[in-house]
Structures are given as structure tokens and as C-alpha cells.
Amino acid sequence: MEKIMFYLLAAIIVIFAYMSVTSRKLYRATMYLLFVLLAVSGLYFMMEYNFMGAVQLSVYAGGIMVLFVYAVMLTDKIGEPLRSIPAKWKILPVVVTVGTALLAIYAIYSYQGISADNEATVTTVEQVGEKLLSYEDGGFVLPFEVISILLLAAMIGAIVIAKAKKLVNQEKN
């Protein structure tokens, strides 16, 4: 059962990722991307990592995707299909993709440290929270604080951008 579900989700991810890249309608591409993100969250749920699955759903599917949808609406000529790329431009992306895939496969197979655990452990929100704020070895308090500062800076930046016109107008007057 698990195997069937895994291959189903993997197939969804691969097929829709391909379709999202090759689709010539921008709005449909975002929908295919949504299906990829949903399937990834399905993988997390299969691993009993429920918290990560729900974060994937709410942050990526709910947040980032809505942002994409609004961003796409601001682009030019969304209703018309995108022009197709000439063949000579396609070579480099193909080479890069295949090269990266080969590198990743090589890295996975040459790494000996993995031993698959048959018992799935449920990661609780408490564990995630304690690790996030722990000062000890393997704690994540520094990245957590850095990200907080980054988000604060982004928020202030957004306010400045939104108010810039108003401020300039005030100075002129």
C-alpha cells in the first residue's frame, strides 16, 4: 500500500513538474506547480511527518502559490500562450538538468551512512519547537533569529516601497 502511494505521488510530482515547465500558458503552469507542491506534502504525510506536511500545505500551497497567482496576473499578456523557445536555447537547460540529476544520483549512491529505519517515528510540534529554540548542540536558535531579522527587514522594506510615493509627494509639497 505504501509503495503504491509512493509511486503514485512520485509520478504526480514528475509529470506535473515537467508540465509546469513546458506549459505555454502561464496560469496553467502555476496550477501544475500547485499539484507538485500538494504531492510533496503528501510525501511528508506518508512519512508521518505531519507537521512538515501541514507547513508545506499552508506555506507553499496556501501562501507562495497565492503570491504566484497574483504575480502572474501582473505580467503582460497572460491570456495568450507564451512564445516557444528556439531549439538552440533548449540545449543548455537540458545539459544542466541531466548533469545535476546524474550528480545527485552519484551522491546518493556513494553515500554509505543511510540505513533505512523501518519504524516510522512521529515528530511532534513540541520537538520541533524545542529544537528551534535550543542553544545546545544541534539547536537551531541562530538560524531562527537570523530568519526573524531577515523577515523583519523584508517587512520594513515592503512598507517603505508602499509608502515611497506618498513620502516623495509630501516632500515636494
Binding site: Y27, R28, N50, L57, S58, V69, Y70
Partner: protein
């Protein structure tokens, strides 16, 4: 007296079928559970539409639907049959894929949200350890269905309706999330069954006194906004936008959106009942000694949820619609700061153990 047991009737059914028939039985079990939920989805949706029309009629001193069946109970079934038989039309040059994918995003979002709600002791499809968070995560996927539907219709009114709806749902999700967090601070768990278990001596709305009351008010306002109901129904403001994002849907396409909207209202009421009013727990434990415990749990759950739904309908037929700037001001200038302060207040109360 055992109030929460670890039995989950749906899980037991699937396990039993798995023992009897192997893998096929397991799949059969999943199908049966899904079928039960789908049936509930359809029946509850139809019933809510009937109740809404009836309540609306009484608020306006009318009678409402009262011709088909006893007290007009079969009216919505007749309507559903009519919608089934209707021709499916749409706009020219619509994006067919997005247009039809929209309701396949909205309906599963509502249905999956339903699956983690405990209807009674052990009557819950899946008792996730992050239950409440899961519901808010899944409901945020439903927004995308509305946005895709609004775009796919190839109609400017649908597009504006979809945009407004997305904007509103994202904004108010923050407040709803903060109100939920306030209660989570007190419960110390995101699991639905654990939250209910914590309330067996006292419901959270009493236990958390002031901050819990504020959180409840914020949650109800944000919940009304998230289900796109009046006074927050700008996305389908009929004077400006026709029917908003579902203007161009006919027949069952329209019915799906309509059903999902009512089920979302049910989910919001159920979450409010679970977080603030003890879910399926009987008030003061008055039915705890009677036989058929799960049944009594379901009775209390549905009584409380009906009360919440009535409150939401009461709002709908009492308040006038907000303007878009009023809507955003209410969220960003009032609800969000109050919600944030409320969390701090609740944290202080929980830290010094001043909750009842």
C-alpha cells in the same frame, strides 16, 4: 468514568476489514469511510441550504420554502435535481482546464478539512497530532480553487470576485490563526481529541475567561470573512459583480461551489465548538452515565454546531455589507493587533496559572 478512549471507530473498521480480506479489504475500508464522509458532505450541505433559506425568511417575516415535502424539507433536494439536469454552459474562450479544475480544488479542501473534526468520541476519520493546524492549512488550498475559477471563467467580474475573495481569505486567515493559537497556548496541544480532553472539567471559553472571549469574538469575525458570508461577501457583491467568482458556472459547477461554501461554514462552526465549547462533551457531564456514549456525543456536538451556524446566519441577515477599505481596516488595524496582544495576555495568564 472514561471520557476519551483511544478507540477510533473508522480505524477499527479499516483494521477489521484488513484482517478479513487483506489489502483489498483495507482499500474497501478507505472507500467506505470516504463514502460516509461524502454522503455527510452532500446531506449536510443540502440541509444547510434549506436552513439558511428558512432562517433568512423568518428574519424577513416571510415563510420561506414550505411547499415541497413536510415544512418544505425536500425543497433543496428538488433544487439539486434541477441543477443536475441543467445544461452546463460557460463563457467563450474560457480556460477550460482551470475552469473545471476550480471546483475539484474547492471540494476536496472542504472534505479533507471535515475529516479531522471529531464528531463524537472516536468518530473521526483521522486524529492527526496537528489537527487544528491541518484544517487551516487545507482551507488555504481552497482559496486557490476560487482564484483559478475566477481567472478561468474569462469574465472580468469573475476575475475581480476571485481576486477579492483571495485577498479577503488570506487577510482574515491571520486573525483566525492567532485566535486559534491563543487557545492552543492553553491546551498545549494541536490534536483535536486532546483539546477536547482538556475541557472535560471546564470549557475553554470559561477557563480562559477574558482572552478566550476576545479570541472567540475574533475567530467568529474572521471565520465569517473566510467563508465569504455577509457582512464580508464583497467577492460576490451582487450589485457590482453579478455572483462574483462563480458567475459563469451553471448547473453542478455552481452547485459544487455552493455546497463547498456551506461546508466551510460548518467546518468553521465545528472548529469554534471544538476549541471553545468542548466539542462533543456534554455540558456539566449530564449524559455521561447514559448508554450509547458516542451517540450522545454526536447529539451534543450537533446541537452546539447548530447554535454556532445559527449565529453566523444571524450575522448574515442583520449586518449590512462592508466596503473594501472598511474590510481591510478592520482586519489590519483592529483584529490583528488585538489578536497579537491577546496572545501575549494569554501567555501571561498561562505562565502565572491564572486561568480558571
Amino acid at each position: 468514568m472514561i471520557l476519551t478512549n483511544t478507540t477510533n471507530y473508522f480505524a477499527q473498521l479499516i483494521d477489521y476489514l484488513f484482517e478479513q480480506m487483506g489489502l483489498g479489504g483495507q482499500i474497501l475500508g478507505y472507500v467506505i469511510v470516504a463514502a460516509i464522509y461524502l454522503t455527510f458532505f452532500a446531506v449536510a450541505g443540502l440541509l444547510l441550504v434549506y436552513v439558511e433559506r428558512r432562517v433568512a425568511a423568518f428574519f424577513q417575516l416571510r415563510l420561506g420554502p414550505n411547499r415541497v415535502g413536510p415544512w418544505g424539507l425536500l425543497q433543496t433536494i428538488a433544487d439539486a435535481l434541477k441543477l443536475l439536469a441543467k445544461e452546463i454552459t460557460g463563457t467563450e474562450r474560457k480556460d477550460k482546464l482551470l475552469y473545471h479544475a476550480a471546483y475539484f480544488l474547492v471540494i476536496p479542501a472542504a472534505l479533507i478539512g471535515l475529516s479531522v473534526i471529531p464528531f463524537s468520541n472516536g468518530v473521526q476519520a483521522y486524529d492527526l497530532n496537528i489537527g487544528v493546524f491541518f484544517i487551516s492549512a487545507v482551507s488555504s488550498v481552497g482559496v486557490l480553487g476560487i482564484l483559478f475559477g475566477g481567472w478561468g471563467s474569462n469574465n472580468k467580474y469573475s476575475l475581480i470576485g476571485g481576486m477579492r475573495s483571495g485577498l479577503q481569505m488570506i487577510s482574515y486567515e491571520l486573525s483566525a490563526g492567532l485566535a486559534i493559537l491563543t487557545i492552543i497556548l492553553m491546551a498545549g496541544s494541536l490534536q483535536m481529541s486532546e483539546i477536547i480532553n482538556q475541557q472535560k472539567d471546564l470549557w475553554f471559553i470559561v477557563k480562559g475567561h477574558i482572552p478566550a472571549l476576545i479570541a472567540f469574538v475574533i475567530f467568529v469575525i474572521a471565520g465569517t470573512a473566510e467563508s465569504n458570508r455577509t457582512p464580508f461577501d464583497l467577492p460576490e457583491g451582487e450589485a457590482e459583480l453579478g455572483a462574483g467568482f462563480h458567475s459563469e458556472y451553471s448547473g453542478m459547477g455552481f452547485a459544487y461551489f455552493f455546497l463547498a461554501e456551506f461546508i466551510n461554514m460548518f467546518i468553521i462552526s465545528a472548529v469554534a465548538v471544538t476549541l471553545f465549547f468542548g466539542g462533543w462533551l456534554a455540558p456539566f457531564g449530564i449524559t455521561d452515565s447514559l448508554p450509547w456514549q458516542p451517540l450522545w456525543g454526536a447529539v451534543w456536538f450537533f446541537v452546539k454546531v447548530s447554535g454556532m451556524i445559527f449565529l453566523l446566519m444571524w450575522f448574515r441577515w442583520t449586518f449590512p455589507r462592508l466596503r473594501i477599505d472598511q474590510l481591510l481596516t478592520l482586519e489590519w488595524k483592529y483584529l490583528l493587533p488585538v489578536g497579537l496582544l491577546n496572545i501575549v495576555l494569554m501567555a501571561i495568564l498561562v505562565y502565572y496559572n491564572i486561568i480558571l
